[in-house]
Point group: C2
Chain length 606, copies 2
């Protein structure tokens, strides 16, 4: 941070290190916590990462991982649901390496906090399994604050610590203790008055008195010494534990151990398989043997199929649950409880802690990734490497009904920058999806899979096709229409193509697992796949709403509303996704197309 940069605070400089909201891309910023409450969850993720890596790599007298996580929060963070989830889960996990400092000024944008929140915060924290220390005069009693922080990092600590520091917002200004001090700049006059109150020169700005400068002058040297000490420790560790040290260093540089790609099966069973099971076939060996992966779930272990042989749970070693296994801090399987939002926000913390040392993976039903969406977005914004595994991604999930059947959610993730959203169409494509996700370094991925068994298009689907986002599944030079298929319903295109053949309509089929990957292909490839510029219309079949497909298709067999609670085997019929109905609609569309009844650029919902 240069003096010049410091003065760029809130300025017009796009490269300012001191903008209104600094983000992770600025040096010294470990995480963009984003909208309120997520920072607590991120801190929980950082503390888990630290505990986990310490348990994995530390050896007696060699504490190569030993940092403490400090988290500053305000009144709002305590009210947000994701903050509540984080407090509850951190207390359960007994994260003694986490201290939360609550800047308790009792002011939010609208007024004093008691207008909307009158709970007993300390009691709530104690009930959640935290220790609590009060600092009653947070404005003047620096000693009490320091003492509390020292207690926070006592090595013997067995619970996370909540330091409740009573403060006054805008202290010594004319708006001290008022809501306007929160949302509105203090203004020049007010700042002058404050400076006067402190005995400072009210006219000087960006001025550091020599006393302050002296106080901090030894900081760089102290920091440098710590770095040197740690480097020496690492050298000794390397001598004492050469194999472990090699793994540790590999992990820190993001190198995956073993030849992970060779662990993905070369082929898969040909009988109908839910793609959530395909996930397990693709990944169970990698998950078992590559310790970089930490697998999270929001209470859907039996549904998401991401366990592996002898998997160990991340939990306090002292905890013996009534049912379920005992865990340890070396465990890599995280049961987040029924807390989707915190799961994704914790994953961001895991990913931001020494980037690429841990690849956090989360899992839940696809619809619940709407609960998790604010944290998934923050992962995308920060380009954090997190893999989200979303099952039950189709109306075919059945009984659970429209609340659990996604029809519009894919639009969000297809629109989200940096987000690699993939819907594989069978086990072979699932292999390709995971390959992309593991290799993708520009942000989070989401692998969207089916609850129900879907046909395997053996010999047609290609994992290397997935890498390009879309590819030709079946070509026909002379053709009347391109059918685009996706994910759980990819096989529908094959059925419709066969039905249309009986009507002497020639088709070609494109499998389209990822918008993002396809958009990144050269125009030439895109034209080869879609052939719309040859005058061939493209019809997409996907039981989601059409929004977003208009870019690649001329018409769509898409959902027009929400789903319905019906057993999976009946629901496709209910929404007219039978081969016969779809084929008829495509046929009718092609007649309109040929007769010129469809205007240029008019997407038609069939």
């Amino acid at each position: 941070m240069t003096w010049d940069q410091l003065k760029s605070y809130h300025s017009e400089r796009p490269d300012s290190l001191c903008p209104g909201h600094p983000e992770i891309e600025h040096e010294g910023i470990e995480l963009t916590t984003g909208p309120l409450g997520q920072g607590i969850a991120n801190a929980v993720g950082l503390a888990i990462a630290s505990k986990h890596l310490a348990a994995t790599f530390n050896r007696p007298e060699y504490e190569v991982v030993s940092n403490h996580t400090w988290c500053m929060v305000g009144d709002a963070c305590l009210q947000e649901g994701v903050g509540c989830e984080a407090f509850s889960y951190a207390g359960h996990l007994k994260l003694g390496n986490l201290t939360v400092i609550y800047d308790n000024n009792q002011i939010t944008c609208d007024s004093s906090v008691d207008l909307t929140n009158t709970e007993d915060v300390n009691s709530k924290m104690l009930a959640c399994g935290w220790d609590v220390i009060d600092v009653f005069d947070g404005v003047n009693n620096v000693e009490a604050i320091v003492s509390a922080l020292e207690k926070g990092r006592e090595p013997s600590r067995e619970k996370p610590l909540f330091v409740n520091v009573r403060t006054i917002i805008g202290v010594d200004s004319a708006v001290a203790g008022q809501a306007v001090a929160h949302g509105v700049p203090l203004g020049k006059d007010n700042v002058k008055e404050m400076k006067k109150a402190y005995g400072w020169d009210p006219e000087r700005q960006f001025y550091i008195p020599s006393k302050v400068r002296e106080f901090y002058s030894e900081l760089p040297a102290r920091g440098g010494q710590w770095v040197n000490e740690w480097n020496s420790l690492l050298e000794e560790y390397t001598e004492a534990y050469p194999d472990l040290a090699r793994t540790f260093k590999d992990r820190m540089t993001g190198k995956l151990s073993g030849n992970w790609e060779s662990m993905i099966p070369k082929s898969f069973p040909s009988d109908p398989t839910p793609t959530r099971k395909s996930n397990n076939m693709v990944m169970s060996k990698i998950l078992a043997e590559v310790p970089t992966f930490m697998i999270g779930t929001a209470d859907l272990t039996p549904s998401v199929n991401l366990t592996y042989k002898n998997y160990e749970i991340f939990n306090p070693p002292t905890l013996q649950p009534i049912s379920g296994s005992k865990g340890s801090c070396a465990g890599r399987y995280i049961h987040n409880g029924i807390r989707e939002h915190v799961m994704a926000a914790i994953a961001n913390g895991l990913a931001a802690y020494s980037p690429r040392t841990i690849i956090p993976t989360t899992s839940s039903f696809f619809m619940f990734y709407l609960y998790a969406a604010p944290a998934v977005r923050m992962g995308a914004l920060q380009k954090l490497k997190v893999i989200h595994v979303a099952t039950h991604d189709s109306i075919g999930a059945g009984e659970d009904g429209p609340t659990h059947q996604p029809v519009e959610l894919a639009a969000l993730y297809r629109a989200m920058p940096h987000m690699l959203y993939i819907r594989p169409g069978d086990s072979e494509e699932a292999a390709g999806a995971w390959k992309c996700a593991i290799e993708y370094d520009g942000g989070p991925s989401m692998i969207s899979v089916s609850r129900h068994a879907i046909p395997q298009l053996c010999g047609l689907t290609k994992r290397d096709g997935v890498v390009k986002g879309a590819y030709v599944l079946r070509e026909d030079r002379q053709t009347d229409v391109t059918l685009i298929g996706v994910g759980a319903e990819l096989s529908f295109t094959v059925n419709v193509a066969n039905a249309l053949k009986d009507q002497s309509i020639k088709t070609r089929i494109v499998s389209f697992p990822s918008h993002k990957l396809f958009r990144e292909q050269p125009l030439e490839y895109q034209r080869q796949v879609l052939r719309r510029n040859e005058g061939i219309p493209a019809v997409v079949i996907e039981p989601y709403v059409s929004l977003g497909w208009e870019r690649f298709a001329d018409a769509g067999v898409n959902m027009k509303g929400f789903g319905h609670s019906l057993p999976g085997k009946y629901i496709y019929k209910h929404f007219e996704y039978t081969t016969d109905s779809m084929a008829k609609r495509v046929q009718s569309y092609l007649r309109d197309w040929k007769d010129g009844r469809i205007g240029r650029g008019e997407f038609v919902e069939l």
Copy 2:
């Protein structure tokens, strides 16, 4: 419910009243609570509605509104953030008319609850301002349960009640107390064993013993009597308070008092205005005079501009906050705290309680509607009439940076069925947006507005145009390109059109505030507005990602990634939304277009 319908449980019948997940469309279902945790918030909304209408309409000896809200929850609901928000806020509001019954079986999908949650639930509820009653043997001690419920509805109750009932899942089956009893059907054999244990005939299904039938036989008569009693009370009330009774009945039928439309100004100031301020100009008179509206905010009162003259806060009358006004149960302004998700879920409860008697309105920053999205979705799924007001809907919001600058969120709301998402382009269009939202009866609306002042396109914009989703702002029969403008950046199209004119390029301009409304117009109107079938390319200007615009435009000046923290007046330049840059890109595109370098159906990001 017929016998035949009862037997359709989990069947293939699409009209089954007993599907896996019954929704609001089925008689007797008051709300679809949807994914976990939202039900608690919905219950809080119902309880607020009841308290509010009672305070508004009841008179001594005439309790025309007096119901109690009962809410059954499981272990998962207590863990979800939205559930935590709801508990905290309900305790603050002292909702004595709400009883939550906690089916405490300590089992979730993955295992026993203590695998992931070991907090002291009762202490947490007490800290949140609830009363707690324990029922230790919820399997056998029916008396204790009844006694607790009776205590719940004691009229003197000043806090909501949490009844902690210990139960055993799958009691008396072979999987009693196990996680499989939660997620997997018990199976025929297991059910037979249970029936044997109860001394029932294991072979009989759907059998109601005469003892049970007798026990319930008087229920219809009892219910009928209550209805009669209430009708008589209403008659007497009508005689005693004829004006109040008329309003009450009007409210129940959804009739808005007064001629609300005439309260919207006929014209607006011509100086640049933030559309969040336009909202207030459009609505403050209506909000003040039409008591059907209840206005919620998540701690952004100074930002959202939805207060009105002498507005009263909904809060316990006994509460005097340190700063801010005292409230009452008759108050119509709801300070939800910093709890966006619960705000939207409470609004669903308010809307579902005697539908159209209350029109709940929520307000926050647009990006925070990602926090609220799961509840907004449930409102859409249930077609509940809720109006969401989202400000800071543009990168132009500035300093707060990419975390607060939406670029992809509109795609979700444009994709969501039943959802009326509108981005008005100035005050005149804001008037149209509110007209649409107030008249729309098919689900929630969202009015998406700017933080910053935007030019007023007086004489060009038309509120009646908004009703059609898109309309021609400026026509030119001989034209080279249609420019599509939206919301906060609508005026950019006019600037670009003027710049292109200097280059002898003829333009026409379309204002496009709502995808949904435009899609509902006849094809003929759509063609008149877009004229793409005349071979005129359309270019949309909106600093969101392009996804969704490919349906209406051939190219777009859209965002390709997230925003940046910069003061509002510099940010457009940073992302090349200057008139000059945009005009050049459109010009270059038109050359490519004319030279045939753009293939059929190829959307181009400029």
